[in-house]
C-alpha cells in the first residue's frame, strides 16, 4: 500500500503550468493527423507565424496553436483559431510543406464536432 503520506512532502508542485502529457486529450490532434498527414512534419520553425496576416493585427501564433494541439492543450486553442483569415500565406512559406491552411480548417471542424468544445 503506497502511503498517501508519500505525497505530502510539503512542496506544492504547480500542476496548472505542467503539460500533463499522459492525461491530455489529443483527439483533436488525431483527427487532424488522420486527414492531413503533413501535420506530422511541422518542426515549429515559426515561419507561418512570421508571415501571418492576422498576426499583423492581433496576438495570434499559428505555430503556438499547432504545438498546443499536438500536446493536447486544447482549451485556449478554439477561441484563437477563429482569428485565422485562411489567407494561405503560412502554407506558401512552410519549409516542410505542411498544409497549414487545411490544418486550421480541420481543427475548427474537430472542435465543432466534439461536444466539449463546440460553440
Amino acid at each position: 500500500m503506497v502511503s498517501h503520506k508519500m505525497n505530502n512532502f510539503g512542496f506544492k508542485i504547480s500542476q496548472g503550468r505542467q503539460i500533463d502529457y499522459d492525461s491530455n486529450d489529443r483527439r483533436i490532434a488525431n483527427y487532424i493527423y488522420e486527414r492531413e498527414p503533413s501535420f506530422r512534419l511541422c518542426i515549429e520553425c515559426g515561419g507561418c507565424s512570421a508571415t501571418c496576416t492576422t498576426g499583423n493585427h492581433t496576438k495570434f501564433s499559428l505555430r503556438e496553436l499547432h504545438i498546443l494541439i499536438k500536446r493536447g492543450e486544447n482549451k485556449s486553442v478554439r477561441q484563437d483559431l477563429k482569428k485565422c483569415m485562411l489567407c494561405g500565406k503560412c502554407t506558401m512559406v512552410c519549409p516542410r510543406g505542411v498544409n497549414t491552411r487545411n490544418v486550421v480548417i480541420l481543427a475548427k471542424q474537430a472542435f465543432q464536432k466534439s461536444d466539449e468544445y463546440a460553440i
Binding site: 503533413s38 508571415t51 496576416t53 499583423n56 493585427h57 492581433t58 477563429k82 482569428k83 483569415m85 485562411l86 489567407c87 494561405g88 500565406k89 506558401m92 512559406v93 510543406g97 498544409n99 491552411r101 487545411n102 480548417i105 465543432q112 460553440i119
Partner: protein, 632 residues
C-alpha cells in the same frame, strides 16, 4: 387485330415516364422562387422561346458542342439522341399514313412492323421503309461506339469513362438492348414475310434461311417492349433522367435564371441534366496531371443526386473553371460546387423518398452557430486620402518584385495613389469564401470596404486576381475595380507612361480567377504586346491551364500540385519562350518552382520597359549661390 399483350410493358413504361416527367416539372416549377417563376413564364414567349427550341435541337439532339470538342463522342451521343428522335418522329408519321386509322396509340408506331408485316414491298412504302432502316442503322452505329467505349474508352478519344452503379447498369443494358432487339424483331418479321429494306430485309432474309423466322420474331418483339419499358421505368433514378431534364434546363437558362448562392430548383435541375458524358473529367488537370479521378464534376453531380456526403469531393477541386467552360450542357459546375462547400448554409434538406423517384424538400432547422464575431480585433486607422488605391494582396507580399514593379510604375505615372496595404493588410476574404465560410468572409469584406470608402478613392487597383474577383463580385463598392494589368493598359492609353520595346519572346499564362473567373482576357495580352513579342500558345483564354497553386483545393498533396504545375509549365514553354508571363503572384510562385524558364509578372516586364523621365531642371529657380546651383 391492332393489339397484342407484348405491348403492355412498353405502354406501362411510356405512360409512367410521361406522367412522371409532367409531375416532376410541376414540382420543380412550384419550388422556384417568385422572381424565377416570373422569369420562366416570360421565357416561354418571345425570343427566349425560339432560342430554347433552337438550343434543344442543336444541343440535346445534335449535340453540337460535344461534336466540336470530341467528334467520336459527339457522334455517339448524337446518333442515339437524334436517331431515336427521328425514329419516333418518322415512325409516328409512318403509322399515321400507312396505319389503319390516323392518330394511333404510340405503341402502334413503335411496333409498326409487327402489326403491318406485309407493308413496304414497293413504291412509296418501300422508300419509307428504306428511310426507317437508315435511321435504325444510324442509331446502331452509335450504339456500337457506345458499347466499345464502355470497355475501351480510347476509341472515342476519352482517357477515362464514368463509373456506374447497379441501377445505372441495368438501365444501360436495357437501353442497349432496345435497338438490337428492334433490329432482330423487325428482321425476323421481314424475313418471315419477305419484306423489309436494306438492313432489316437483308438480315431477315439471311436469318430466315437457317432459322424459323416466324417463331423467333415474337420473343424479340417481347424483348423490344420489355427493354423499352424497363428503361422508361428506371429512367428517373438513373443518369438518363438527363434526357427530359435537359429540356427543362434549357428553358430555365434562356429565361435568365442563374444558380446563385443557395441550393434550389435550378441547382437540382442542373444536377439532373448531367449526362455523365465525361468531358469534364477529360478537361480536369487533377485527372490528367495528377491521376486523381474520383472528384470531377460528373461525380459531384452524381453524388448530389444520390444524396451522398460530398464534402470530400467538393473540396478537392482547384475551382479553375475548365470543366464549366467545356460542359456541353452548360451546367454551372463551379457555382454548384461552391454551394456544396458551404456546409449548413442550405436552409432546406433534400430527402430522397421512394428511393430516388422524388426528392422532397423538407425544411430542416439548420444548426446555425450563434453569430460569432471572429475578426473584431481588426482596427483600422483612417487611411490616407488618394484618388487611386493600390491593394497588393496577401500573396503579393511574398513576391516583392511585383510589389516593387507596381510602385515603380505608379510613381512613374505621376498619379495620386496610396499603397493601402504596404505594411500588410487584411485579407480580401476570398480564401474564406472558397472554403465555404461566407459569414466570416463577410466580416472581412465589411472591414475592408470601410477602409476603401474612407480613403475617398475612385479607383482600386490590385495585383492579385483572387482579390480582384471578390472585389468585383462581392464587395459592392462604389469605386472602379481594376487588376493591375487593366490599370497599366489605361496608363498606356492615356500616355502616362512611356515604354521601350523589349526584344523578348513571351508566352502569357492566364490566371484562372482573372481569365475564366472574371473574363479579363484581352488587357493583359495587349499590355504584353506593347512591350514584348507575345506568342500564342495552345492554352489561351478560356482554354488556359491552371497553375495548380490554387487555394481552393485543401485536399490535394504537394506532390500532386507539383505535377500539375510542372505539366502546365511544360506545355506553356513548349516553344522555348524567354519569359513565361503571368498576372498573379500565386501563379508566379507556383511556376517559378516548376520550370527553368524565367517567370515574370506583367508588371515586372512593364517596369523593365519603363522609360523614366529625367529630372526636369526648373530654370526659374533663384539660386543664392553657386553651391546651391550645383545641388539642383
Amino acid at each position: 387485330m391492332q393489339f397484342d399483350p407484348f405491348v403492355i410493358p412498353f405502354n406501362i413504361g411510356l405512360y409512367f415516364i410521361l406522367i412522371y416527367v409532367v409531375a416532376r416539372s410541376i414540382l420543380w416549377f412550384r419550388d422556384l422562387s417568385k422572381p424565377d417563376k416570373l422569369r420562366l413564364q416570360r421565357g416561354f414567349f418571345g425570343n427566349a422561346f425560339a432560342l430554347s427550341l433552337k438550343e434543344i435541337f442543336m444541343e440535346s439532339l445534335i449535340h453540337r458542342k460535344i461534336l466540336k470538342t470530341n467528334l467520336r463522342l459527339g457522334y455517339m451521343h448524337m446518333s442515339l439522341a437524334f436517331g431515336w428522335f427521328l425514329l419516333i418522329f418518322f415512325g409516328t408519321i409512318e403509322a399515321d399514313i400507312f396505319g389503319v386509322k390516323h392518330l394511333n396509340a404510340p405503341y402502334k408506331a413503335i411496333f409498326f412492323r409487327f402489326f403491318h408485316p406485309d407493308h413496304g414491298r414497293m413504291g412509296f412504302e418501300a422508300a419509307y421503309g428504306f428511310l426507317m432502316d437508315l435511321i435504325l442503322a444510324f442509331i446502331l452505329s452509335g450504339l456500337l461506339l457506345a458499347v466499345i467505349k464502355r470497355f475501351y474508352s480510347k476509341i472515342v478519344g476519352m482517357k477515362k469513362t464514368t463509373r456506374l452503379k447497379l441501377t445505372d447498369r441495368i438501365a444501360l443494358t436495357s437501353l442497349w438492348l432496345i435497338f438490337p432487339s428492334r433490329l432482330l424483331a423487325e428482321s425476323f418479321t421481314s424475313g418471315a414475310y419477305g419484306t423489309g429494306s436494306f438492313l432489316t430485309g437483308s438480315l431477315g432474309n439471311w436469318l430466315a434461311t437457317f432459322l424459323p423466322a416466324q417463331q423467333l420474331a415474337y420473343p424479340f418483339w417481347w424483348l423490344y417492349s420489355i427493354s423499352l419499358g424497363t428503361f422508361f421505368i428506371l429512367l428517373p433514378i438513373t443518369r438518363y433522367m438527363h434526357i427530359p431534364t435537359e429540356l427543362f434546363l434549357i428553358f430555365m437558362r434562356n429565361s435568365g435564371i442563374k444558380t446563385g448562392d443557395k441550393a434550389g430548383t435550378y441547382t437540382e435541375v442542373q444536377t439532373y441534366s448531367c449526362s455523365s458524358c465525361g468531358i469534364c473529367i477529360d478537361a480536369c488537370q487533377l485527372n490528367f496531371s495528377a491521376g486523381i479521378t474520383n472528384i470531377q464534376s460528373a461525380y459531384l453531380m452524381k453524388a448530389i443526386r444520390n444524396n451522398d456526403d460530398v464534402s470530400e469531393i467538393a473540396h478537392n477541386c482547384l475551382m479553375c473553371g475548365r470543366c464549366d467552360q467545356k460542359c456541353p450542357v452548360g451546367i454551372e459546375l463551379s457555382p454548384i460546387r461552391m454551394i456544396q462547400r458551404r456546409e449548413g448554409e442550405a436552409e432546406n434538406d433534400i430527402r430522397n423518398i421512394y428511393k430516388g423517384y422524388f426528392r422532397s424538400r423538407q425544411t430542416v432547422i439548420s444548426e446555425k452557430s450563434p453569430a460569432s464575431v471572429n475578426y473584431n480585433f481588426l482596427r483600422g486607422n483612417d487611411p490616407a486620402k488618394a484618388d487611386i488605391l493600390y491593394f497588393a494582396g496577401c500573396m503579393t507580399h511574398l513576391t516583392p518584385t511585383i510589389k516593387n514593379s507596381m510602385i515603380k510604375i505608379l510613381d512613374a505615372s505621376g498619379v495620386n495613389y496610396s499603397f493601402i496595404d504596404e505594411q500588410g493588410g487584411v485579407c480580401c476574404g476570398r480564401p474564406l469564401m472558397l472554403a465555404g465560410q461566407d459569414k466570416e468572409a463577410r466580416e472581412l469584406i465589411n472591414f475592408n470596404s470601410q477602409m476603401i470608402w474612407k480613403s475617398g478613392a475612385r479607383t482600386l487597383v490590385t495585383s492579385c486576381p483572387i482579390c480582384y474577383k471578390i472585389f468585383k463580385e462581392s464587395y459592392y463598392l462604389d469605386v472602379e475595380v481594376l487588376h493591375h494589368t487593366q490599370f497599366i493598359k489605361t496608363l498606356i492609353d492615356d500616355g502616362l507612361v512611356k515604354l521601350n520595346f523589349l526584344r523578348k519572346k513571351v508566352v502569357y499564362h492566364s490566371p484562372c480567377d482573372l481569365g475564366r473567373g472574371s473574363l479579363v482576357y484581352d488587357e493583359p495580352k495587349e499590355v504584353l504586346r506593347h512591350v514584348s513579342k507575345l506568342e500564342s500558345s495552345n492554352f489561351e483564354d478560356g482554354n488556359s491551364l491552371c497553375c495548380g497553386g490554387s487555394l481552393a483545393n485543401t485536399k490535394i498533396s504537394y506532390a500532386d500540385k507539383k505535377k500539375i504545375a510542372c505539366d502546365a509549365a511544360m506545355e506553356l514553354t513548349r516553344n522555348s519562350p524567354d519569359i513565361l508571363a503571368t498576372a498573379c503572384p500565386l501563379c508566379k510562385k507556383t511556376f517559378s518552382a516548376a520550370t527553368n524558364t524565367r517567370v515574370a509578372d506583367i508588371s515586372e516586364i512593364v517596369a523593365e520597359a519603363l522609360i523614366l523621365n529625367p529630372v526636369k531642371k526648373n530654370s526659374t529657380i533663384h539660386v543664392a549661390s553657386l553651391k546651391e546651383l550645383a545641388n539642383i
